[in-house]
């Protein structure tokens, strides 16, 4: 039955030709092969986000008077609504984590080198996009924490010289964070960002497919010297099945997290109530938040905040261009990107922990 259907499609679409590149694709096997899973897991979690996001859209209503109530309705009235929402929240956080881990693993395995610079660039853009998803989605339940996080986050955007203020007004849909901001963020979260993400994701995957898997330089040299040591497996089905096993485990972890630690809804946002004590952004913004907090308010002649925002902007931009900054020829200073990556990882982790513990 299935074979007949397959044959019918193959006759018309020449399906075999279409998936031939997938059949030829191989994945190098070595002791670091496990790191190849991270991109796939991030993709899988993205799929979960799309599916649960669409489900949430069935009941969610944007708007300052309805958003909180509709999420409350989802969590208390709709059967398994709490589960769907918890999975969406947990999966979002896990996805940001795996995206960051993917980025660092690419740095450490030096997978960004020629010819994969563009894969890196598209991946970095996707990482920023994922953070944009997190930032915009966080506001949608319209609770106190989200309200103030958005206030602070957009205020920081406003610190950028010249273009900051107009950008802040664009993001907020006015001078203040109001229902207009919620409407905007909703639009970004469910239409604008998914549209861009889909295109970028396709580019990213096509590049990965076109260029094949990168092998760490040390191993590459070994394999070059001794071709018989080279080991690889077919992507389809060997690697894909392993990857799917990882996804399955991921799904299990997600289910347990969502069921055992359901995501809180908090208290409905009220623009005319003071911010509660100890207000903090989501953990993935914490390292920036904490940095801005400890910069002195005046450094020489510029505002500390402004300086912090500019430095983060600049570092983010340079990070995208990282592969272009490393010389192709072997040189004594070749390892600096690895050093930088170690430093960045330590900085982000350290600052996040510090921010988490700080009062």
């Amino acid at each position: 039955m299935f074979a007949v259907l397959l044959h019918w499609f193959d006759e018309r679409l020449n399906w075999d030709d279409l998936i031939a590149p997938l059949r030829h694709k191989t994945v190098p096997t070595h002791r670091l092969s496990y790191w190849y899973f991270l991109g796939g897991i991030t993709l899988f979690l993205f799929g979960i986000q799309v599916a649960t996001g669409i489900l949430l859209l069935l009941y969610y209503r944007p708007g300052a008077n309805e958003a909180f109530e509709s999420v409350q309705y989802i969590m208390t009235q709709v059967r398994f609504g709490w589960l769907i929402r918890s999975i969406h929240s947990w999966s979002a956080n896990l996805m940001i984590f795996t995206a960051f881990a993917h980025m660092f693993s690419v740095l450490f395995l030096k997978a960004y080198r020629k010819p994969r610079e563009l894969t890196w660039v598209s991946g970095m853009l996707l990482l920023f996009l994922v953070m944009g998803f997190g930032f915009s989605g966080y506001l949608l339940p319209w609770n106190t924490l989200a309200f103030f996080a958005t206030k602070v986050g957009t205020e920081i955007t406003g610190q950028v010289p010249i273009i900051g203020k107009p950008m802040m007004i664009f993001l907020r849909g006015g001078e203040e964070v109001t229902g207009a901001t919620l409407t905007r963020f909703f639009g970004f979260h469910v239409a604008v960002l998914p549209g861009i993400a889909t295109v970028l994701l396709l580019v990213h995957l096509l590049l990965v497919q076109r260029l094949g898997m990168s092998v760490p330089p040390k191993l590459e040299a070994e394999w070059m010297a001794n071709p018989s040591a080279k080991q690889e497996m077919k992507f389809f089905p060997n690697f894909l099945l392993r990857e799917m096993m990882a996804w399955y485990v991921g799904l299990g972890v997600l289910g347990v997290l969502a069921a055992v630690f359901p995501w809180n809804l908090g208290v409905k946002a009220d623009p005319f109530v003071s911010a509660p004590a100890g207000i903090k952004p989501e953990w993935y913004f914490l390292f920036m938040f904490q940095t801005l907090k400890i910069i002195p308010s005046k450094l020489w002649f510029i505002d500390g905040e402004v300086l912090g925002v500019l430095v983060f902007g600049l570092v983010g931009f340079m990070w995208i261009l990282l592969p272009f900054l490393e010389s192709e020829q072997p040189s004594p200073t070749k390892g600096w990107i690895t050093g930088l990556a170690v430093f960045a990882l330590a900085y982000v982790a350290g600052m996040s922990v510090y921010g988490h513990l700080a009062k």
Partner: protein
Amino acid sequence: MAAKQLSETDATRRHMIEAFLGGGLLASFASFIYPVLRYLIPPPVVDLGGDEIVAAQLSEMKPNSAKIFRFGSRPGLLIRNSDGTYRALSATCTHLGCTVQYRSDLRQIWCACHNGIYDLNGRNVSGPPPRPLDVFDVHSRGDEVVVSRKREA
């Protein structure tokens, strides 16, 4: 793939393992799908309308006129006859659910969607409606016209 032919016991074992694996996978997928299917069905709307509602003020309506009032989540039709008596019916046409109206010229209830006509007792007298309209009880309380669902006998 396999260099040697699988023996019969090996083949049975393999089938067994495949059945366990497939069954386990299927069961776990069912456990993912089930919450989603339940989630898709919207929870029943709680009808806070109750069994009784103030449909109008006594002084509000002229004889031989009618108004639509809210009864729970659905519309009702309150008619004041020429002799001053009141009558209340469901305003949802039994044909395809349009909201009916009172025709003071015909002294009948008319549905504009497909030209269905009911008499003042709610009986479907012409056009497509298959059933009569539900009739409600009406009584006055002070200055208010109160409509209530007929008690099941």
